[in-house]
């Protein structure tokens, strides 16, 4: 595992460290398991935090406010397109995941950050607005459904879950996805076409740069003073059950857990 510190901690203040996992394409099953682990760890050490930044294989997730009616293709069409449909226990509704999006899932203690769940959702919207400002784009939080709009079109969705006072899931931002498939999926029930950073800017919108900016903005907004970057998910266990080289043990993988 590689890690590097981007900023220096403030010696006199308690150090708040943010682990940032920049994972590239990351499957949903793996995400669910990693989120569960990070939520558990942050609940035990609320002065720390984590953020997963990745993109997902093409597919659809349906949050608690979603409905199958927002997915226009039938089961056969979805199978041909290779889009799985997964029901997840986050807020917001239907989301279509495509290459060219950036998914950003902060895992932080809301009590430690002094935020209510609703305020946390608003802070995520503010993160996206601030990021888009760096692209000279004027965006606004969506007053109807949590997310961010540029003009009349949505560019980002917010859908989170708060478990044991710790956040998971987060925001999906369209950097440069193919916007055509969104015609068939009413994300968050919104029939209006989507937009992307690339569509709105004359320059080149790079996914890698957006990932880095998101991590910096998350750290700044939630008052983390140190960022540790990782490009792989954590191993199966932070501590081996037996010292390496000893007999009678070794790394053991946890039994797969049920997703919900």
């Amino acid at each position: 595992m590689t890690a590097s510190d981007l900023t220096h901690s403030v010696p006199s203040a308690p150090c708040r460290g943010l682990r940032a996992y920049l994972l590239g394409q990351f499957g949903f099953d793996a995400l669910i398991g990693l989120q569960r682990r990070l939520v558990y760890e942050v609940a035990g050490e609320p002065n720390t935090g984590a953020v997963i930044v990745c993109d997902h294989p093409s597919g659809i997730t349906v949050g608690r406010e979603g409905s199958r009616i927002h997915v226009r293709p039938g089961p056969e069409e979805l199978r041909i397109r290779g889009w799985s449909v997964r029901w997840v226990s986050r807020g917001s509704g239907v989301l279509l995941h495509l290459p060219g999006q950036v998914a950003c899932y902060p895992v932080i203690s809301l009590a430690q950050a002094g935020l209510t769940p609703a305020r946390y959702v608003a802070e995520l919207e503010a993160v996206v607005v601030e990021l888009l400002r760096e692209f000279d784009l004027r965006a606004e939080p969506d007053p109807a459904t949590p997310g961010v709009r540029i003009g009349s079109r949505r560019v980002a969705h917010i859908g989170v879950a708060i478990r044991g006072g710790v956040s998971c899931f987060g925001l999906i931002l369209n950097v440069d996805p193919d916007l055509e498939p969104f015609r068939d999926i009413h994300c968050d029930g919104d029939p209006m076409p989507m937009t992307s950073i690339q569509r709105e800017t004359p320059g080149r919108a790079r996914v890698a740069a957006v990932r880095q900016q998101l991590v910096s903005l998350i750290a700044g907004r939630f008052a983390f003073d140190r960022i540790s970057l990782f490009h792989t998910p954590p191993g199966p266990s932070l501590r081996p059950p037996f010292p390496p080289g000893s007999s009678g043990g070794g790394w053991k993988h946890a039994a797969p857990t049920r997703t919900r």
Binding site: E65, G91, T116, A118, R119, V121, A161
Partner: protein, 86 residues
């Protein structure tokens, strides 16, 4: 044995006036441990787990899925396990 104490499950402040009970994770009669999630509340853009206040048995559910709920509202009651005296 001391008689069981009835402890309300109060909704922590979600920070918004619009919230509904999404679902219950436990049924009356189920044993719960302090901190277990017993219910889920939905606010715009987020689901929020509601923890059991004490270890005991869920005695009563006072709201149903899709009912609107507000901060501090009692969602249900847990009968705390009595301490045995040795």
């Amino acid at each position: 044995m001391t008689p069981p104490r009835r402890v309300p499950i109060a909704l922590p402040d979600p920070g918004t006036t619009w919230a509904i009970l999404s679902l219950w994770y436990v049924r009356p009669g189920d044993r719960v441990f302090a901190g277990d999630r017993v219910a889920e509340v939905l606010i715009p853009g987020a689901t929020v787990d509601v923890p059991a206040p004490v270890t005991g048995t869920l005695a009563e559910r006072m709201v149903h899925p899709n009912d609107p709920v507000t901060a501090g509202q009692v969602l249900g009651v847990v009968e705390e396990e009595g301490e045995s005296k040795g």
